[in-house]
Symmetry: C2
Subunit: 340 residues, 2 copies
């Protein structure tokens, strides 16, 4: 089958690889109908994270179930499904507490690679959510967003305790930050401050619910957020980048007693204990437990209440994956959808 | 009047200093009936924090109101009062959200110094809580504990979301850690793991509600907590030391989705972003908003439901303050009460 393989930073190819098989009795194999390129795929592409030999890529997916292992009970052949970027049993104590991304039996889908014609899904019953009916093309795009960027933005907004009466600041205007805005709006936030300096992303931010845009970054951005919030800072801040500057910007933009939800995969971040101590904010982040939110998100998408698929601004056949990576790396695209 | 003054690390003296006056119209002056030495006073005593010239010491206090400024409404001369180590207006948005220790008009009582015959209390109406009736000597000791160590341990337990069904780990067996145990018990925690290697403190930990004691530290302590919790880690962890080792011990002892309440003043702590990201725990800490809890704590103490004063294991007249500092530094005492 055809699959995307990264050989080295900047070197992405589409190749023939071995067919996908059931390995564990709880596995399913799906025919991937769409996959996408994630902001986190750019870390190895840019050489910031090591590329471990020729590596299969991709962890977001929607598709149709082709085969199931003998222990799979709830998911059946022919089901249209979406799952999270972390496969989880959804039954351990950690999953039951809503942290499926840290399931004791977790499997990172990135290690399997979903930018491919077929993908093995471990713990199929725990990982996959069945989509009712046949999604339209627009709904399919939104379901694909739910697999990671929407679910991750949603988790960040929940972790930041976005809600009625709250002012939410959002650091990062990539797909996750933008969908964090959508989530904050949906959760009832009163005011949403998008921190962005790109006109096209500002427009999408406003469409998703941002009420204010701050172009300044770093401590200047912090000062502007404080100015907009009577000197107090935001109640809730979403961090969706993962750098030292963005983490500091998020923590310092938040008022004492406020909450920071951080989902940008931390690269080179060091938090000074004394600074954090006197910030007196709640910090919650990490790989998002997307599975917790998927049933609700699928419902909102299929009923047309949210349209997260709007973050995809470039669609390419999988054979042109290399161009997709280039476009995201060069910021010509916010989020690339790969068709199969 | 007589007051404790630190001249240099290890050099604590009791001296005559200028009398205490009302400065702001919202001030009160109290006659201090008891003060104490805090674990955080040991940082400058040990030279880990700089001593800024001859410095007045002390931030915990109970006493009787002597004088009030013209703008003080709720507190009157003759009231027996207790207050937090941070003076706060208790009316700003940060105070109203329960984070009085970060009040926009905060005054650190340590900069005033309460190890003295009299103390000026800024924002008297916002800072002080009136004690109903005349406390017994035992109640007075407990009220003094409420001023910082009990209030701080309580905040840590609340920040760690200790409660029914939860397993709580407590890193640090000083007064704050021990009273964090008392708080966790009172909040309904099912199981409380005290991390301590001192027999006397273990005994007090058990008296306050600890169900298990772990003597190992660092990663060995983490392994033991995981062993005691089915491999998952604690739901809630209280950090009450403030070192790199204790913070790592607290974070790594906590299960994904769990909560860490950290109240040890961070010294030389650096949190690695990637480690924190994949820990996927909630972190909340900082200077405890003791004022939030004081009315409730005063009630529990005066009704005899809690006995936090048991942490004081050495009582000295203020003239012997230097010996009190030595005893705490050498770990001959957990918490020293100074009488006036």
């Amino acid at each position: 089958m055809r699959a995307v393989v990264m050989h080295a930073p900047g070197d992405v190819r589409v190749e023939n690889v071995a067919d996908t098989e059931i390995i564990e009795p709880t596995d399913a194999v799906i025919r991937v109908t769409a996959a996408c390129i994630c902001g986190s795929d750019l870390w190895p592409y840019r050489g910031i994270e090591e590329v471990d030999g020729p590596a299969r890529m991709g962890h977001e997916y929607i598709g149709v179930v082709e085969r199931v292992g003998p222990a799979v009970r709830d998911i059946g052949v022919g089901d249209f499904v979406v799952g999270s970027f972390v496969a989880s049993d959804n039954t351990c104590e950690i999953c039951e507490a809503g942290f499926q991304s840290r399931c004791v039996h977790q499997v990172m889908m990135g290690a399997i690679g979903t930018q491919a014609e077929y993908a093995r899904i471990p713990h199929a019953d725990g990982t996959l959510v069945k989509v009712p009916g046949e999604p339209t093309e627009a709904q399919a795009r939104s379901l694909l967003a739910a697999s990671d960027v929407l679910g991750t933005g949603w988790f960040a907004a929940v972790a930041a305790e976005a809600g009625p009466g709250k002012t939410v600041a959002v650091v990062g205007d990539g797909a996750v930050g933008l969908l964090g805005i959508l989530a904050a709006k949906r959760l009832g936030a009163e005011r949403i401050i998008a921190m962005s300096r790109h006109a096209d992303r500002q427009a999408l931010a406003r469409r998703f619910g941002a009420t204010d845009v701050v172009e300044e970054r770093g401590e200047a951005g912090v000062a502007r957020v404080r100015e907009l919030t009577g000197g107090y800072g935001a109640h809730s801040t979403i961090e969706a980048v993962g750098t030292q500057e963005s983490m500091m910007q998020a923590i310092h933009s938040t008022r004492p007693g406020g909450h920071v939800g951080y989902v940008g995969v931390a690269h080179g971040v060091e938090l000074d204990g004394m600074d954090l101590f006197f910030s007196t904010v709640s910090l919650l982040g990490g790989p998002a437990p997307v599975r917790r939110f998927l049933p609700e998100l699928v419902g909102l998408i299929m009923s047309g209440e949210i349209d997260p698929g709007a973050v995809f601004d470039l669609t390419l056949p999988i054979e042109e994956a290399a161009e997709g990576y280039r476009a995201m790396d060069e910021r010509r695209a916010t989020k690339v959808l790969l068709t199969l």
